[in-house]
Symmetry: C2
Subunit: 430 residues, 2 copies
């Protein structure tokens, strides 16, 4: 006997069309192997008159959310719209009515996840969002189920394909930031307005979701250190290569007794590290568990079919009542905190543009010393084609963000310093 | 209300002790978050008098399998013994009695998997073996559940830590095979008798299990092409580096309409491929799905806690009735075949030891031509310290294993060829 499962779909964009395609492709196998007939019965879209190149037979398309929310025959609601207002209302009222929700909306889960997970828990109804992070990479399910034996102490991720593509081109082909961004746009890896990507905002939303799964369903609250890639230069990459390192935009979550350290920033990492070899638009999550040791998952973090692949597996998980207590913890939500940004400790690479005068490095080093920061190495080079201008590159031992900011503010006052010094954090032990 | 789950454990070796440690470590969290109390109530071992540094309170240790098999209060049986005879009897009779089994025994699953999966299916009882492949890497569950939207066309894996450690040292430090093997033994990465590892037998057992999950629970039957790493030389690695490639022992499963191509052999792969950067004792599985595209999982493929981490997650999966129809397909077993080895098509790197006479390369190339094989590049070099002996390195275009074997047999007859030519297969598009 086949079990019919009826889906109500919000959104028929890139991911929605991918989902329709997969549902059609896998129809026969799902019936044969699992005894399930999956039917998308209704879709709510903004513009129902838009021509779509989709096999839409049997799908009623409308604009009114209540068409789906009031349809008692619908078993699972899939939210693929994006945005945090209308989507929030839809997901919340579905969960309140006891209808399971699959959601690919990272902004919504990052912003309202605390509340929605709590509603899901209270109503004992599944709320899965695998597709909200890392496209088709099954990272949330892996954290939730496969690593159930592990306390995850550290999670380090490349979770924005646009920036990883740009950084790969800067590293491998010596392109400037703007040249690489232009190439990314031409190849469809960057949006017309790439701000959310290049400023690290997209990555920090995803990091919040990852951290929640690392913390067994508790969303850490507090500020995430978030820094983008727009200030990186090809000279930074050359310097990195001289140190056998490369630069990646990392999303980092570290667990401490007092809370979580969460941060997104360009980072120097050793070239031999697995994350250094994650190239172009690929995403990867590298984590360390107390039983498992290191584990890395790498794959396509975006795109119609990869993302829909994650949505589909969430649907099948719900059909099979896949997880204890529907994937959320039994206990009530307890506060989990994000550690203050000022307490972040790193090694740093510092870059200053200087007027070429003797003794500048010494001055900088002694000012760093005033803040208890000691220098590992320092070098200066002339900037080609600009007379009497140089660049100083300094690596300093581990120190806190607050000491470093203090020192930087002072150094920036030096008359030989042009503009402001820039920092890139270094992680050798990920 | 806590739900008590009682475990009967066969084997208290490396993985068994890891499991005990994890069960103790996670006791409180499992109760708090999932409402489950996991208790290992009985263990069957060869020598119960052996002193074990384990927290064994509450575990009855004996030597008689029936102590566990006849204990009606036991909910799940965990088989960590190894071997294919006694272990087979234990697993089979557990499944026949309707008791779920978690198994870390790759030899058993590879050899008797067809039959045991069938018994499990008929009795509708879970039989999970995540720990049998890739240690703590959750590859079987990922194939079974997370990739349910995908038809997997290709799976390429580094699934033997010993050989990957040896090949990494040969590649990065220029060691000979024997030097690298010695180092692996000293560091505990190779067993006293490394035959099963270095001849590719361990990898081909694991490949059979991976292929079964790729084929949705059907174990492909037939011969696996299996070749070890003992014949590789440091010159092979130097040659590979000149081509921007490296050599890895790969386990390859490719899906064709007629069946599966399964093979284990040293392989030249491009240095930029993610698998080329899987170093030392690490394992990785790289797969391509029709929706997802490429996905790679990388982690520790062996060791007490990593392997026990996989066993533990299988146990929790069973507690939560994690998968539709207990992880096996509904339909009866249908034959899935492994394609004949002779049909394997590859590019090849050929290496011949020759007496240094003019015209040898020409002779070899023309004999390859007789078998329809065309040469991409050919070069010769003298072997240092051996007078008048040289080595010829040839890369040929894609051809079949049977053509190549024919050509090789003929070339080996040439009087200028010393010993036998060796081949290493090349995969550029994994």
């Amino acid at each position: 006997m086949a079990k019919k499962v009826k889906i109500g779909l919000f959104g028929l964009g890139v991911v929605g069309s991918g989902l329709l395609e997969i549902v059609n492709r896998r129809r026969e196998l799902l019936l044969q192997h699992f005894g399930i007939e999956l039917e998308i019965v209704r879709a709510v879209v903004k513009d129902p008159t838009k021509r779509r190149k989709l096999a839409m037979a049997g799908v009623e398309v409308g604009t009114c959310a209540d068409d789906i929310l009031n349809d008692d025959t619908i078993d699972i609601i899939v939210e693929l719209m994006g945005g945090t207002e209308f989507a929030y209302d839809v997901v919340k009222s579905s969960l309140l009515r006891g209808i399971p929700v699959v959601c690919a909306n990272k902004a919504l889960v990052a912003e309202k996840g605390v509340e929605l997970m709590e509603i899901a828990r209270e109503n004992r109804v599944p709320f899965f969002a695998e597709a909200s992070v890392g496209g088709g990479i099954p990272i949330l399910k892996t954290l939730r189920e496969s690593l159930v034996a592990n306390e995850i102490s550290s999670l380090t991720a490349i979770i924005n394909g646009t920036t990883n593509f740009i950084l790969t081109k800067m590293n491998e082909e010596g392109l400037s930031y703007f040249e690489a961004l232009k190439l990314a746009s031409e190849l469809g890896f960057a949006e017309a307005d790439p701000t959310l990507d290049v400023e690290g905002i997209d990555a920090s939303q995803k990091l919040r979701i990852l951290a929640a799964h690392m913390a067994s369903g508790q969303f850490p609250e507090g500020e995430i250190l978030c820094e983008g890639i727009t200030h990186l230069t090809s000279r930074d990459f050359r310097f990195a290569q001289q140190q056998n390192m490369t630069i990646k935009l990392l999303a980092i979550a570290r667990r401490y007794d007092q809370g979580y350290q969460l941060r997104v920033h360009p980072t120097l990492i050793p070239s031999a590290h697995p994350l250094a070899n994650v190239r172009n638009e690929f995403n990867a999550v590298y984590l360390v568990g107390d039983a498992l040791g290191a584990l890395m998952l790498e794959g396509k973090g975006a795109g119609s079919l990869p993302t829909a692949s994650a949505v589909y597996s969430d649907i099948i998980d719900i059909c099979s009542k896949a997880t204890i207590d529907n994937g959320h913890v039994r206990i009530e939500r307890q506060p989990v905190s994000i550690l203050p940004v000022e307490q972040v400790e790193c090694e740093y690479y510092l870059r200053f543009t200087i007027s070429d005068e003797p003794g500048v490095i010494g001055k900088i080093a002694s000012m760093l010393g005033d803040y208890g920061i000691s220098v590992v190495s320092a070098s200066a080079e002339l900037i080609p084609n600009i007379e009497d201008m140089g660049e100083v590159h300094i690596i300093v031992h581990k120190t806190t963000e607050s000491s470093l900011n203090g020192a930087l503010a002072a150094i920036n006052q030096l008359k030989q310093i042009q503009g402001e010094g820039r920092i890139i954090r270094i992680e050798r032990d990920i």
